[in-house]
């Protein structure tokens, strides 16, 4: 039913089996996730696409080890996930930057055990990578939303994780900044070769970024379909194939592509 392995190189990085999540309420319980099976290959960029409130954020929080699933297993590199781990960093929508630290302080946050000079080098490297030169000493409340988001991405990359979890990271940005951030994410992804799990409710965004798009149903979230995006980067957003894939997903979700 689900194409567990894609044809691209790389071994399985992440394996979800029979994942289920229910939240108890006063009288009954709400089922949020139902029977999720998914394999993600090493170095793959997978988008999890679904309507708001469908449970895709819950899924990402379980994979990151912040939540325990009700049933099922999460394995990474064939080991069960037991909690959050600095090898896999969660990027929150810019709300995750620490407002009491400067840009430098934030980016170096996860580098506590490193000797000072090495740490400074690494911070400088990632400041450059996300284009924040000149803002090293600025505090987050002095930055725009897009810049804060860059700080978070840089802070995550600085600890050199093998995986990044992004939870609607660009959702709060204006549409121009959002496009720019997508381009930068792709550039960084190709440069740093991370496995990326990217949660979004934006169909266009998922088709622009992903190797594969995992389309979820409304609550309880199940995997409806997995769409392979067989387009090379940089992607031409007016090519026939792009439009075909995009409209296919629109149809899949049952949205008329007209306003």
């Amino acid at each position: 039913m689900i194409p567990a392995h894609r044809s691209l190189p790389g071994r399985t990085k992440l394996a979800l089996r029979g994942l289920r999540m229910t939240f108890p309420t006063e009288e009954t319980e709400i089922r949020v996730l139902d029977d999720i099976d998914l394999d993600v290959g090493e170095g793959e960029l997978v988008c999890i696409l679904g309507p708001s409130g469908c449970g895709k954020s819950t899924l990402l929080n379980i994979v990151a080890g912040f939540l325990q699933p009700t049933a099922g297993s999460v394995r990474i590199d064939d080991e069960p996930v037991r909690g959050p781990d600095p090898r896999r960093i969660f990027v929150f929508q810019e709300r995750g930057v620490f407002p009491w630290l400067t840009v430098e302080g934030n980016i170096g946050f996860g580098l506590g055990r490193m000797p000072r000079s090495e740490r400074a080098n690494r911070v400088a490297h990632y400041v450059r990578l996300v284009g924040l030169e000149g803002f090293e000493k600025a505090y987050p409340h002095e930055l725009s939303g897009g810049m804060k988001q860059r700080v978070e991405v840089a802070r995550a990359l600085a600890v050199d994780p093998d995986m990044l979890y992004l939870d609607e990271p660009f959702g709060a940005l204006d549409s121009i900044t959002r496009l720019e951030m997508r381009r930068e994410l792709l550039r960084i992804w190709q440069q740093e070769k991370k496995t990326i799990l990217f949660v979004t409710h934006d169909i266009e965004e998922s088709v622009q970024l992903a190797d594969r798009v995992v389309v979820m149903t409304a609550r309880p979230a199940r995997i409806r379909r997995i769409v392979e995006i067989d387009l090379p980067h940089p992607r031409d957003l007016s090519s026939r194939r792009y439009l075909e894939l995009r409209d296919g997903i629109f149809e899949e979700i049952g949205l008329a592509h007209k306003i």
Binding site: F66, F90, R95, G96, P99, W100, Y139, P140, H141
Partner: protein
């Protein structure tokens, strides 16, 4: 600053607006002086008499002695309250069950005025400095606790999770996430608690100590109806209270804490 004012939808005030507090004080002094001159209250001193009384205190060396004595007691009582109340409040917020068990107790003790503790203070510690320090401690302990509790519960779960994600131990999370996250809000609470501590200094010094601004006020009345000295004591208490408040406000605006101030201003503007 201007930016914040604009966000709040207010028209920025002109430069002369900084003189307004001075103008307010000046007109109050003037009214006071006129009321004494033309009124019929033989015992009440005018502003000039009060200024002379402060001068007299300074000349005889009493001013320094009383101010230092009061500050000494408030410092001890307040510092003990902070040292005990902040960790207590953090623990109550951290261990939610403990918080639930103790919250009603806190709310029952809180409305009891510190002055009600004076008989017990004398019973336990006798008359003297220790009792005065104890009263100030009692007055500022619960406000400090409550400030710490509310500061902890306002820490965003995102910041907790980010701290955990980077592999920090519980101790490191407390030091590098919890502490800086609560500091701006905590400082506001601590400033209010300091105000309360200073507020009860007069009552605390009524317990037969023989120094301090509170003692000065009581003593000046008992020993010869020197109402100019009474009002001088009041003026000194008010002025020092203002200075203490301003000092803590300065700390609140340090660069690493300003975000809390900016966030609060943005909240207000929204």
């Amino acid at each position: 600053m201007n930016d914040l004012e604009l966000k709040a939808g207010r028209i920025p005030l002109s430069r002369f607006s900084r003189l307004l507090p001075l103008a307010g004080i000046a007109s109050l002094l003037l009214l006071w002086d006129l009321a004494i001159r033309f009124g019929n209250a033989p015992l009440l001193p005018g502003p000039l008499a009060v200024a002379r009384a402060i001068g007299e205190l300074a000349q005889k060396g009493f001013l320094f002695k009383h101010v230092v004595a009061s500050l000494f007691r408030v410092t001890w009582g307040y510092l003990l309250a902070v040292v005990a109340g902040v960790p207590f409040g953090i623990l109550l917020a951290w261990y939610r069950r403990g918080g639930l068990a103790l919250a009603p107790l806190v709310e029952i003790v809180r409305p009891i005025s510190a002055l009600a503790w004076i008989p017990l203070a004398i019973l336990w510690f006798g008359v003297g400095d220790v009792s005065a320090v104890f009263i100030i401690f009692v007055a500022s302990f619960l406000p400090t606790t409550v400030a710490a509790m509310s500061a902890v519960s306002s820490v965003s779960s995102t910041h907790w999770n980010a701290g955990r994600n980077f592999g920090l131990s519980a101790g490191q999370i407390a030091l590098y996430v919890l502490l800086p996250a609560i500091l701006p809000r905590l400082l506001v609470g601590l400033r209010l608690a300091l105000g309360i501590a200073w507020l009860v200094v007069v009552a605390a010094e009524m317990i037969a100590v023989n120094s301090g601004l509170g003692f000065l006020i009581i003593d000046a009345r008992n020993a010869g109806n020197r109402y100019d000295l009474v009002v001088a004591g009041m003026v000194l208490i008010g002025t020092i209270g203002l200075a203490l408040d301003a000092a803590v406000r300065r700390i609140e605006r340090l660069p690493a804490l300003r975000w809390g101030y900016a966030a609060a201003a943005a909240e207000e503007a929204a």
